[in-house]
Subunit: 225 residues, 2 copies
DNA sequence: CGCATAAGTTTGACGACTCAAACTCTAGGT
DNA sequence: ACCTAGAGTTTGAGTCGTCAAACTTATGCG
């Protein structure tokens, strides 16, 4: 029930790793890396999560959250994403810095403040990165989208979500005019170089690696050049 | 420099106790009580503050902050009071609950967020309780005011500050129409009972103990009945 | 197959913060 | 001057989260 701040961080990290993993479970090494902690520390914390019925784990195997653990992780994610939305929409901070700020604030938000914040922001469904904000009851509606890297040359699309939270990635995207909601068109793809060239509407052409483009999600628009 | 959350709490408590004390120093017992900790714990933490040049203390004597400690305490107080102002002005929470909420949030606010918050709120000089908000450079302008308990029968005054942060006290004041900025008149004083009777403008007469009234600060207005 | 390497686990230790309980000092009254 | 009640201090121990280093298991290469 009363998760410590550290436990909250583990739950959130495991949830996100689990979501991204093929096998739907988080490896100990990745958990440790995500939290900036040694593998031994992660092992012992996971042991504690298991004792609290928040996660399941068997020796040398992967980690996965229980229903209870998932519920807790979604609550933390909700706090995180609402705080990010607040920092951008209300305080006018740049989206490239809000992730780290929210990382600290998310643990200090009580249910009462959270609800007031939610109301103040107009109960938003998505944060500034396009990530869905879990609702108070734990419901989470992922938006339909595909990686920008899968677009073909000439395809037009709308940018709906940016998975990368790293400040420099976000600053690059903002500087290029590639923000959530923007429309764009693929000008060219150079598979050999692993690079695609993109033109945001009303901006100039930018090149980015297909691996970077894979972390940008888009929804294709009907128009085809 | 990098004060831990616990250290921040000690600094703030010592600052406030020192301000209220006649001898301008905080006793170990009161520090312990303010933090909900045993006397032994307070002694050892103060020892740590002294080692960090944040406070001065000699065995069996009082504790007082150094210049460095005072500067740090004012920074924490600034965060606390700006957060309170935000919770009331922007999120619309009741002033009787914001103290405890701010107590948690104040440690998670970075300088960048703090400044954005300050700008968003219009760089306020006072928080919802009428407490002055220290400025970023540490300047603190106390408002001139006297305890309501020192008014005489028939005196009129404007309520400028409430020192008590306890939720039930604040709920009583709000319910009575006694909020910061309200004008009022002393209807009667009954020294024997230790009670004074107050009529807020546009409200009905309320009784309160002179000890409670001493924690409410007012500025007398020229009009005399 | 066998074994080296990567991944995971265990162990012992530490720093931060806390308590309970034993101990010491200070101050006030007679 | 004394002596005691109350305030303050010290000590020993415990919890939480962490690390480094020794150890164990799983796996994939040759």
């Amino acid at each position: 029930m009363l998760a410590t701040e550290t436990v909250e961080n583990y739950l959130k990290a495991i949830y996100l790793l689990q979501r991204d993993a093929a096998a739907d479970e988080a490896s100990m090494g990745k958990i440790a890396a995500a939290l900036g902690v040694t593998a031994g520390t992660a092992t012992s914390m996971v042991k504690k999560l298991v004792a609290a019925r928040l996660a399941r784990h068997e020796r040398f195997g992967g980690v996965r959250l229980t229903t209870k653990g998932t519920r807790a992780a979604l609550d933390i994610l909700r706090r995180h994403r609402l705080v990010e939305t607040f920092l951008v929409d209300t305080l006018g901070l740049d989206w490239s810095v809000v992730h780290d700020e929210a990382e600290r604030l998310e643990h200090a938000i009580s249910p009462m403040v959270l609800d007031a914040l939610d109301r103040h922001l107009g109960r938003p469904a998505f944060d500034p990165h396009g990530d869905p904000i879990p609702r108070a009851d734990g419901a989470l509606q992922e938006s339909e989208a595909m990686p920008m890297s899968e677009l073909g040359s000439g395809d037009a699309a709308r940018l709906v979500r940016v998975l990368d939270q790293r400040g420099d990635s976000l600053r690059f995207l903002r500087a290029s005019g590639l923000k959530v909601g923007a429309t764009l068109r693929v000008v060219a793809i150079e598979p050999g170089a692993g690079v695609m060239r993109i033109r945001p509407d009303g901006g100039s052409i930018v090149s980015m690696s297909t691996t970077a483009a894979a972390r940008v999600l888009v929804r294709p628009t009907r128009s085809r050049h």
